[in-house]
């Protein structure tokens, strides 16, 4: 079962429908977590949402509790939230991307996606990861071809993944492919 933590976003249910293609999904607000179900779940997904990671201390607690024990996936705000908990700094961008289609490219650090593969994806974010950023296990694996902004990461040791873009958006071509690959990676 997949547990999706909703940060009261207006895109979360697109995420729910996307994950529902692969497994049973339970979704609840971040302030209304069913702890039993969360504990039973195989995968935890941190949804997109307004604001910045520091606005959601409850979700950070959940992340720390289950790190290394369950597969976890962050999307947009969820992506930033994981990085924030791994010592990353999240900051405002000069150019802001809401409803924007961009190209991203996979780099050599990915164990799941083919190197140099380019995807068209949809973006909705005001903030981004401040770089340079270093982490022992977590690698940035996809970047915007134009601005070089970090767009995906993998921590294959702890099974933690994140997308700054929205695989759930209609602007992302083949969005299901990203989710399928991440869910099936062992």
């Amino acid at each position: 079962m997949i547990y999706i933590i909703d940060h009261q976003d207006s895109f979360t249910w697109n995420v729910v429908h996307q994950f529902s293609q692969f497994d049973k999904v339970h979704c609840s607000d971040y302030f209304d977590i069913n702890k039993k179900l969360l504990n039973k779940s195989d995968v935890i997904v941190f949804s997109p949402g307004p604001g910045s990671p520091k606005d959601y201390p409850e979700t950070s607690k959940i992340y720390k509790k289950y790190k290394g024990k369950k597969k976890m996936i962050g999307i947009c705000l969820g992506f930033q939230l994981i990085l924030y908990n791994e010592g990353g700094k999240i900051r405002q961008q000069n150019k802001i991307y809401h409803g924007y289609q961009s190209k991203i490219k996979v780099n050599g650090k990915s164990k799941i996606f083919k190197k140099n593969k380019v995807f068209n994806i949809g973006r909705y974010h005001s903030l981004k990861l401040n770089e340079p950023y270093f982490s022992k296990n977590l690698n940035i694996t996809m970047r915007c071809t134009k601005t070089n902004t970090a767009m995906a990461f993998e921590d294959n040791l702890n099974k933690i993944y994140g997308f700054q873009f929205h695989p759930d958006s209609f602007l992302t071509e083949n969005g299901n492919f990203f989710i399928k690959k991440i869910l099936s990676s062992k």
């Binding site: 009261q8 976003d9 207006s10 895109f11 979360t12 249910w13 697109n14 729910v16 429908h17 529902s20 293609q21 949402g49 307004p50 604001g51 910045s52 705000l77 405002q92 802001i96 809401h98 409803g99 924007y100 289609q101 949809g122 909705y124 974010h125 005001s126 903030l127 929205h166 759930d168 958006s169 209609f170 602007l171």
Partner: protein
């Protein structure tokens, strides 16, 4: 425009009597004409505490004939209440938060006039309200105040708190109006697909809303968000307008966001995998402007009730901004005057749970001898406050012209 001519050529003494009386009545645009609802046997005033009961009770009723439906509106405030979003310290004029009517007579105006009623006799009295303009229109926020809110919201967008937000401005005058003649005059120039009129004893609404928020037939739910407005001029036509929207970054991004948002709102109540974009990014033409539109549909999950549908779809995302909850909170903290019907929804719910609702925009609300016309346009990062402020005026223009 064709609809209007069709209707006018069908002179009916019955209709003239109805129009000239002060009997409460509602007119709603349909694909090939209009429907008039009247002889109301029930009038249900909605508030925070009875709305859930109202919705639950409908599902217990039986649908036997055409008249088995409620027609009316949900105001903006009651929709916020349903979502537990608070509104504090706003100036209000005491207008209804929501009101629904049970009609006993329905008149269909298309090629022919069809009158269907559960009553044997329909009475009229002779009472005619002439339009009187007592004081000219004034706008409730000037550009300076508008710019202040605009700049604040731009900051909120930079901080990621909202991705798009719509500021409402209001034009008000002192007037008495004859809503029926206003409505038909409006239909002559702008018979928008979601137009409607309500005439009741103590208020009236005249609207040329272009936007369908919910069309539900059995399990199928359709929504048709509008995001993108272009002022008409002589050099433009529909295909040039489409090219403009496609090449315009700001309009495209704004539209994309609303499409994803409406997909989300439908997904909340629909079966996984059933939500599809039926028609992506097309142009509709109106009196003063072109609109950029998409059609999205889905199939309802089995255990969904009326309240679930209303809560996930209303207030319509395209007139609020995104993400909905946080954006509503921001709006309610900055707008100093209640929105009343503006960005609420008008429509009907049949007793078999089929329904159609629009988004109440491009509307005149006349209450206590004040007519108010509201308009809203979006703050996204690339918009300019001047342009959005004047876009509000373009949107209100065809209604303001009725008072000339």
């Amino acid at each position: 425009m064709i609809d209007y001519k069709k209707h006018k050529s069908n002179f009916s003494p019955y209709l003239e009597k109805l129009y000239q009386s002060d009997k409460p009545m509602i007119i709603y645009k349909f694909i090939d004409g209009y429907k008039i609802f009247t002889d109301f046997s029930k009038r249900i005033v909605l508030n925070k505490s009875n709305i859930e009961n109202f919705l639950n009770n409908i599902s217990k009723k039986k649908f036997k004939r055409e008249q088995d439906l409620y027609v009316g509106f949900f105001g903006y405030e009651i929709l916020c209440n349903l979502l537990n979003v608070r509104i504090k310290n706003q100036k209000k004029n005491g207008f209804y938060k929501g009101l629904f009517y049970k009609p006993e007579t329905i008149i269909t105006l298309s090629k022919k006039i069809k009158i269907s009623s559960t009553l044997k006799k329909q009475g009229f009295n002779n009472h005619f309200n002439q339009t009187k303009i007592l004081k000219p229109f004034k706008i409730n926020i000037d550009f300076k105040k508008y710019k202040k809110i605009f700049d604040l919201f731009s900051k909120k967008i930079r901080a990621g708190e909202t991705y798009q937000i719509k500021i409402c401005t209001k034009y008000k005058n002192k007037s008495e109006i004859d809503p029926v003649s206003f409505f038909w005059r409006l239909m002559k120039v702008n018979s928008a697909p979601e137009s409607f009129m309500i005439r009741d004893k103590n208020y009236s609404i005249v609207s040329c809303s272009p936007e369908t928020l919910i069309e539900k037939k059995r399990l199928k739910v359709t929504t048709k968000p509008i995001a993108g407005t272009l002022k008409k001029n002589q050099r433009l036509n529909k295909s040039k307008a489409l090219r403009f929207f496609k090449n315009n970054d700001k309009e495209t991004k704004e539209h994309n966001m609303i499409v994803d948002m409406e997909r989300n709102d439908l997904s909340k109540i629909c079966k996984p995998g059933s939500v599809i974009i039926k028609k992506k990014k097309y142009v509709e033409e109106y009196r003063h402007l072109y609109h950029y539109v998409s059609t999205i549909e889905g199939k309802l999950k089995n255990n969904i009730n009326l309240k679930d549908i209303i809560k996930s779809m209303m207030p319509g995302g395209s007139v609020i901004g995104c993400p909905k909850i946080r954006t509503l909170q921001l709006l309610n903290s900055q707008e100093k005057e209640g929105r009343n019907i503006f960005t609420g929804s008008f429509g009907f719910i049949k007793f078999n749970m089929d329904m159609r609702f629009n988004i109440i925009i491009r509307s005149i609300l006349n209450y206590k001898n004040v007519s108010e016309i509201s308009a809203a346009s979006g703050v996204v990062l690339d918009s300019s406050s001047k342009k959005e402020f004047s876009e509000n005026y373009i949107k209100a223009k065809s209604l303001l012209e009725l008072f000339k």
